[in-house]
């Protein structure tokens, strides 16, 4: 819910309540007042009639009407005064239709000069209804005016007073720790907003310091570790040229070579993971993932062919995401390489992309490790293999960074790696 909706809703509820209760009370009071007024006038009329009867005796009052009925009888009547609301079906003056018209009725029984006299006087209450109607309509109009005013003022206030807040929000949203540029933030006289701004600044400063120190670390670590490895490697290249090497020495040399290689790849992999976790890659490139997959298929076509495997790549719809191309290439390469390494010779590896997800499936024996451990660092299906155990951990991190989900299932003697957009675009 938006801020404006929330505040308006509260206002609306309160004014509605105030108007309903206030309106009801007004109407009830008004009605009572009018009835009292009518009663008084009826009573005055009655007193006049009574006076006339008393002074002039029986007199003709003409035929009874809705407003006035007077009956006489020879026997006395017990005295009583009776007020009552009643309804008479009659013709409305305004629209000439038959309808129920509310009346206030006064019936007085008494004995005057030995005659029983019943006087019934009625007054139409239709004016009262009109009055209620008029009052209600004016209340509703007032309510609408008030509401419109509230909305307008609210919007104005939101726009003016909350302006710095929305600017801050925009800065939050567009903030990238990699930008490292001084942030232009709005000044605000409102205490809460200037507090928010300060909190934001100190938070980003901390994030930038952390980011920079880790970035420096990865750069330095890379340089400091790879340089001695490079020195050792080149030394081996020179040593190799020695004509008088014995076979056993050659074997030792090979061990040295491959250990150095492993060390350097390990270092490379770990630093790559650190860099991904530190979000040192900008993800603002629009990348066609199918093209990246196609490239992987080309990279590994030869390797697959040497194992008599076939790569079957099928893409139905374009699959594009925002991200870092180098990382996505590593992701696709690693998964494909994995499939080739752990698949049966002579099998088919199918890579299917459908626009929202892609999967790599191939027949193979189940991995001797739990599937949830599969993406951990240094997890190896075969400890004796030359694998570093970093490939799938890197895949996992690349997916996390790009908002992709990576899942592994084993069914029908097939490995399935599935990559899905976590939030499918519509």
């Amino acid at each position: 819910m938006k801020l404006i909706t929330a505040t308006l809703r509260a206002y609306l509820l309160f004014t509605l309540l105030a108007f309903v209760v206030g309106g009801a009370i007004t109407i009830v009071l008004l009605k009572a007042l009018v009835v009292e007024e009518i009663d008084e006038s009826l009573w005055r009329d009655f007193e006049k009639i009574q006076e006339t009867i008393e002074t002039e005796g029986e007199m003709t009052f003409g035929s009874p009407t809705w407003e006035r009925e007077i009956h006489f009888q020879a026997t006395p009547l017990p005295a009583s005064i009776n007020w009552k609301d009643t309804v008479i079906i009659g013709v409305d003056d305004e629209d000439d239709e038959m309808e129920e018209i509310p009346f206030r009725q006064l019936t007085v029984n008494q004995t005057i000069n030995g005659y029983g006299t019943q006087v019934t006087l009625r007054a139409s209450l239709i004016e009262t209804d009109d009055l209620v109607e008029v009052v209600s309509i004016s209340l509703i109009i007032l309510f609408i005016i008030l509401l419109a005013g509230l909305i307008l003022i609210n919007r104005q206030v939101l726009r003016k007073i909350w302006h710095p807040f929305f600017q801050l929000l925009e800065s939050f949203r567009s903030y990238r720790v990699t930008d490292q540029q001084p942030k232009k933030l709005p000044e605000s006289k409102i205490y809460e907003f200037s507090q928010l701004k300060e909190a934001f600044l100190s938070l980003t400063q901390q994030a930038e310091t952390d980011y920079n120190s880790l970035k420096n670390f990865t750069e330095n670590a890379s340089h400091e570790i790879q340089t001695p490895i490079a020195a050792a490697k080149t030394a081996l290249d020179m040593l190799l040229q020695n004509e008088h090497l014995e076979e056993s020495q050659q074997a030792h040399l090979h061990t040295l070579y491959s250990s150095l290689n492993r060390l350097s790849r390990l270092n490379h992999g770990l630093l790559l993971l650190t860099k991904i976790e530190n979000r040192q890659y900008t993800l603002d490139e629009e990348i066609a993932l199918n093209a990246v997959l196609q490239k992987s298929v080309e990279h590994f076509g030869e390797m697959a062919a040497l194992k008599d495997m076939r790569l079957h790549f099928h893409s139905e719809h374009p699959f594009s995401i925002k991200g870092a191309k180098a990382l996505l290439q590593i992701l696709c390469d690693n998964l494909l390489k994995n499939a080739i390494q752990h698949g049966h010779a002579g099998s088919v590896i199918s890579i299917i992309s459908d626009g929202q997800s892609f999967s790599i499936s191939n027949p193979g024996n189940p991995f001797p490790i739990e599937s949830k451990k599969l993406f951990e660092r240094f997890t190896k299906a075969n400890p004796a293999s030359g694998s570093l155990g970093l490939g799938l951990a890197i895949c996992q991190q690349v997916c996390l960074l790009h908002g992709l989900s990576l899942t592994y299932t084993y069914s029908d003697a097939h490995h399935h790696f599935m990559i899905r957009k976590a939030y499918p675009s519509l």
Partner: protein
């Protein structure tokens, strides 16, 4: 061919220097930004090998300076800073190639030769070894003036051998040259073995002598028997 090597690590610098001399390059070493700047200003080199992390400055600035002063110099960045950004920036500033540390010396040699062919001989070069002639621009190989057809990796393998003739090449270095990081070691040796076998067969069929010597457990050497 004159090569300027800018490398601050003394051991690595010495090794590269020695190896390049054995390949008959004239090689000078600078171990700091200032030293490199001076040398580049005083002399002109055919090829400059630049480390990026240097005492006294950033190697990327050297790329700019050398490109400006002597545009004909070929520049190869050799760096442990394997950041994609550095690679892209380096190439944008005018470097011709980027080789990340650690590398094998035969690989460096192959890169230098390839760059020299592109820059110095303007693509009109050919490589000759006995009866074998290679035309790198057209990826063509002739044996006794008869063209032979090689698959992509076989061609790359032969070129790597010919460029690094007379040197013992480890399987590790060759595999890395052919496949980069794409292949795991154990697999790559089998594939390499296959490729060498096929290459030998094709060369022999075309009437070339077998110049590929197997160094047991270690690698190969391409030289006259």
């Amino acid at each position: 061919m004159k090569v300027l090597l800018v490398e601050d690590d003394p051991v690595l610098g010495k090794n590269i220097h020695q190896y390049l001399q054995s390949e008959t390059y004239v090689c000078e070493v600078a171990d700091s930004f200032q030293a490199a700047e001076e040398k580049a200003a005083l002399y002109s080199y055919d090829i400059a090998l630049l480390d990026l992390t240097l005492p006294g400055g950033d190697g990327l600035d050297l790329v700019k300076k050398i490109r400006l002063a002597t545009p004909e110099t070929g520049i190869i960045i050799i760096s442990a800073r394997n950041a994609v950004n550095d690679r892209v920036t380096g190439l944008e500033l005018g470097a011709d190639d980027y080789l990340s540390k650690p590398f094998h010396l035969p690989e460096l040699n192959a890169r230098i030769k390839a760059l020299a062919r592109r820059r110095l001989y303007k693509g009109e070069s050919q490589l000759t070894f006995a009866e074998i002639r290679i035309f790198p621009e057209r990826r063509k190989v002739m044996v006794h003036d008869t063209p032979i057809s090689l698959r992509k990796k076989e061609y790359e393998l032969l070129l790597f051998f010919v460029v690094n003739r007379g040197k013992v090449l480890s399987k590790v270095a060759i595999a890395e040259h052919l496949w980069g990081d794409y292949m795991d070691e154990a697999d790559s040796y089998d594939f390499l073995y296959n490729h060498v076998k096929n290459l030998r067969k094709k060369m022999k069929k075309a009437g070339a002598l077998d110049y590929i010597q197997t160094i047991y457990g270690l690698g190969y050497k391409f030289s006259r028997p």
